[in-house]
């Protein structure tokens, strides 16, 4: 049960309620009042009652309990927490974009369609794929889309015995989950001593039952696989397809086009690589690129030219359904608001700017790695791409875990790196600085981590009890899972609230 003795920092929205208040008023009806049939009316509507100022103060107060990219360094590995340019927020809110209905006749929304078409073309150019859909809502959604396309490709060729997806042990959990949603058997492929896919194991797993391989490259250790071409050839040789998890595309902008390397299908995270904000957990956006082989299987509709322009008449854009489409993966046209932001970002960077993004993201990651690798074990210590993984444990500091290092970092006003991922590194701290951070910030971060390593030996309790300077301390997660209080009222009271 909720702890009656708990101290309340900010009341919840129901505790702030007072009967009769409202934050909005609406015009009186200008038509005769009508009532639904009495048997279809709800009896009560248990929402809180607040004035506008109450609501604003409540959420502003809550916002101050958050750490964000605009507060400081957020090196959350694999999430690419780069700066979100403010102009993007303005362009996405232009009334001409914001107040268009997804089902308007195409001739009234040519601006939107030009933007979507152009973004498709730019993403194709950047990634080297033949075709692109903008529809998937997030990275995992794009993965699921890609897996369905791979399966549909084999099925369309009458090659129906392919039921296995190969996935390296360093992969994001979404890869196996996306494969399972397509009713595929997951076969895990180990990594070798240098952090690459174990080629011998991969070859042994390849046969005529393989749908393909889901490969994150650079992988979640931040390493560009040294045998990438051979891996892709191996999969293709057994008739399989290669899926690229584009979570780490930030390292590759202007450096290499995955489509040219032989990937057959790949998702892109606009919310990582192309600076659309992460929103406290979304919305993301996960466009999917396809090679010529898979282009016809993309989810529909995608934007295309329906009438070529000539002289002074501009081309006319509309929706096109790929010939063997797997179908729609969501309603309407994808996360359009995110398209406007990504378009703005790409337009402002151009080819040279995008290449600099990748170069400086990789520079920053290697700089932090070199500054730390004498103090923290870096299991695969070679030139990395945009991120690297260190261990948050030392023999000389028994009992100290990556979690303690992460929590102590908050006292130095940094967001912790991703911890306990990838699963193949013990006590993993996965650090992705992005191109956003300057040398001074990186130096202070390194200084803090070196200090923490020292504290781990000399004053371990400082780490064990960290964080000390944040508004909240460590959480009782067992209590949360055991009591399952998931609403502002007690579970027993559910009945009276419905």
């Amino acid at each position: 049960m909720p702890d009656a003795t708990a101290i309340t920092m900010e009341p919840n929205i129901y505790e702030l309620s007072s009967p009769g208040r409202t934050g909005v008023t609406y015009p009186a009806p200008d038509v005769p009042h009508a009532d639904p049939p009495g048997n279809l009316l709800r009896k009560e509507l248990p929402l809180p009652e607040l004035a506008e100022v109450d609501v604003i103060r409540h959420y502003v107060k809550l916002s101050k309990y958050n750490y964000s990219v605009d507060d400081g360094f957020y090196p959350l590995g694999s999430c690419t927490m780069k700066y979100n340019p403010k102009i993007n927020e303005n362009t996405a809110r232009l009334p001409g974009f914001l107040y268009t209905h997804p089902l308007q006749p195409v001739e009234t929304v040519q601006g939107n369609l030009v933007l979507m078409y152009q973004l498709q073309e730019w993403l194709k150019e950047i990634t080297g794929f033949t075709a692109m859909t903008l529809q998937p809502a997030a990275g995992a959604h794009g993965e699921f889309t890609g897996v369905l396309m791979m399966r549909a490709y084999h099925n369309a060729r009458g090659d129906t015995k392919r039921t296995k997806m190969l996935i390296p042990d360093s992969a994001h959990g979404t890869n196996p989950a996306s494969s399972a949603m397509s009713n595929l058997e997951v076969v895990q492929i180990p990594s070798d001593a240098r952090g690459n896919v174990d080629l011998a194991a991969l070859k042994a797993a390849c046969d005529e039952t393989v749908v393909g391989l889901m490969l994150t490259n650079p992988n979640t250790l931040g390493l560009f696989d040294e045998h990438l071409e051979e891996i892709i050839q191996t999969i293709h040789a057994c008739g399989g397809l290669v899926y690229g998890d584009g979570a780490n595309l930030n390292a590759l902008l202007g450096i290499v086009r995955p489509g040219e390397l032989g990937f057959d299908v790949m998702h892109i995270n606009l919310h990582k690589t192309f600076s659309t904000p992460h929103g406290g957990g979304g919305p993301g956006s996960g466009p999917v690129g396809a090679s010529e082989k898979l282009a016809d299987f993309l989810p529909g509709p995608i934007v295309g030219v329906v009438e070529e322009g000539h002289d002074d008449v501009p081309a006319s854009f509309g929706f096109i359904h790929p010939a063997k489409s797997i179908g729609r993966v969501k309603a309407f046209n994808g996360h359009f608001g995110m398209f406007v932001r990504a378009y703005t970002y790409i337009a402002m960077h151009g080819a040279e700017g995008l290449r600099q993004v990748a170069e400086y993201a990789v520079l920053n990651a290697n700089y932090v790695r070199i500054c730390l690798d004498k103090t923290y074990t870096v299991p695969f210590d070679r030139i990395c791409m945009h991120e690297f993984v260190a261990e948050g444990q030392w023999e000389a500091a028994p009992g100290i875990r990556a979690l303690d290092v992460a929590k102590r970092l908050m006292d130095y006003d940094f967001h912790p790196p991703t911890n306990y991922f990838p699963l193949i590194v013990h006590e993993a701290l996965m650090i992705e600085p992005t191109e956003t951070e300057n040398k001074d910030t990186l130096d202070s971060f390194v200084k803090a981590l070196l200090k923490i390593a020292e504290e781990a030996r000399s004053q371990p309790v400082l780490l064990k009890e960290a964080p000390h300077k944040t508004p909240f301390g460590r959480m009782d997660e067992v209590k949360a899972a055991r009591e399952l209080v998931l609403c502002c009222w007690l579970p027993e009271d559910y009945a009276s609230h419905s």
Partner: protein, 456 residues
Amino acid sequence: MTYIPHSLHERDTMLETIGVKSLEDLFKDVPKKNRFPTLHLPAALTEMEAAAELGELSLVNENVRTDLVCFLGAGAYNHYIPAAVDHILQRSEFYTAYTPYQPEISQGTLQSIFEYQSLITALTGMEVSNASHYDGATAVAEAVGLANAHFHGKRKKVVLSPAVHPQYRLTLRTYVQNMQIELAGDNPVAVNDEWFSESSPERLIPLIDAETSLVVVQYPDFFGRIYDYAQLIESAHQMGALVCVAANPIALGLLKTPGEMGADIVVGEGQPLGIPLSYGGPYLGFFTTRKQFIHKMAGRLVGETVDTRGQRAYVLTLTAREQHIKRERATSNICTNEGLLALAAAVYLSLLGPIGLRQVADLCYSKAHYTAEKISRLPGYSLCSDAPFFHEFPVCCPSPVAEINAHLLDHGFLGGYDLGQDYPALKNHMLLAVTEMNTREEIDALVEVLAEVAHA
């Protein structure tokens, strides 16, 4: 321009520390023949130029605030969004944070999701809500995942009403294409005028059997009609099947909740709750269920707890259900969801409260009924259905909907949805939506233009 802060001097110092001569040297693992391709992209713009270019592009569109009067709905609705909603969303403490993996410095996000869960369960009359799905369509598809997990994949049939949004039905089909699931009832070809006069939710009952895992209906349905699903749900339960109701959250400001009718899963499109039309996204899928199904529910969940200092606080809980722990055994692969839009819905519902939400629902209901009544008296037009409806209704028109809409567009109206696109027997049937945004003058003007078309 870029947002990269390094000076050339800093760059060189860092390269020296790393022990490489140039930035190029960092990329030696990349196959040489593919390294550093030339990207053919337009020349980089400054912020000033980008603002101008995007501004011009946006003006090519006709929008429903300044150019067109909107009577189009079909799953995305033109509602008023109080100014305070976007002011909260523009707090960069919210929008530039990510998933609250570190609860000590993410209580803002966590408490607001917890409140969102509370508000959505209150609205739907259900017991638990997750932190969101991508949209209404994918939330419906995930309901199939829950039912499938609940029956351990043993029940292979899903009964799907043809009166569920066409794009939701298509999305569901995409999701289950490799799952050997039989879909019954989803027969849009059979939806004709006779179907309208005879259809009731109870017509689905004979399709439900011991093989059925889930029955999916919509409330109000795609045609705007409102039914009490209690009898259908009871029949489904007798067969051991679960029932998912996809509900419009504004309608729930007025109408009996699916929870009260006995639904097992209530999902829907949260866009009407303070989220702009934005050409279709990003929107918000809400997902609620009963406590007994919580371990099979996909998506993030926030629970209350205390911290080491004795303060009430919130954490992501039951994470063992999710892909990052359970990998291929997870119910779903969902990871990033619609966090910021869930915040929008929470702020919207907090601002409106029961008084405001009921007002909006009342205005939608009254204005839609005023519109329907006027159109029904126009020669050549009739209402296709006499079932109760909320704020949307199908109209049988004297000519093809595309023609009528073209004429309406000439007069500054965004006409209704052409039902013939999805239901072949419903040519000349238009689905009109009316919200609190439509004034009596606009409605009267719409009716006048419709009358002109009938006479033309």
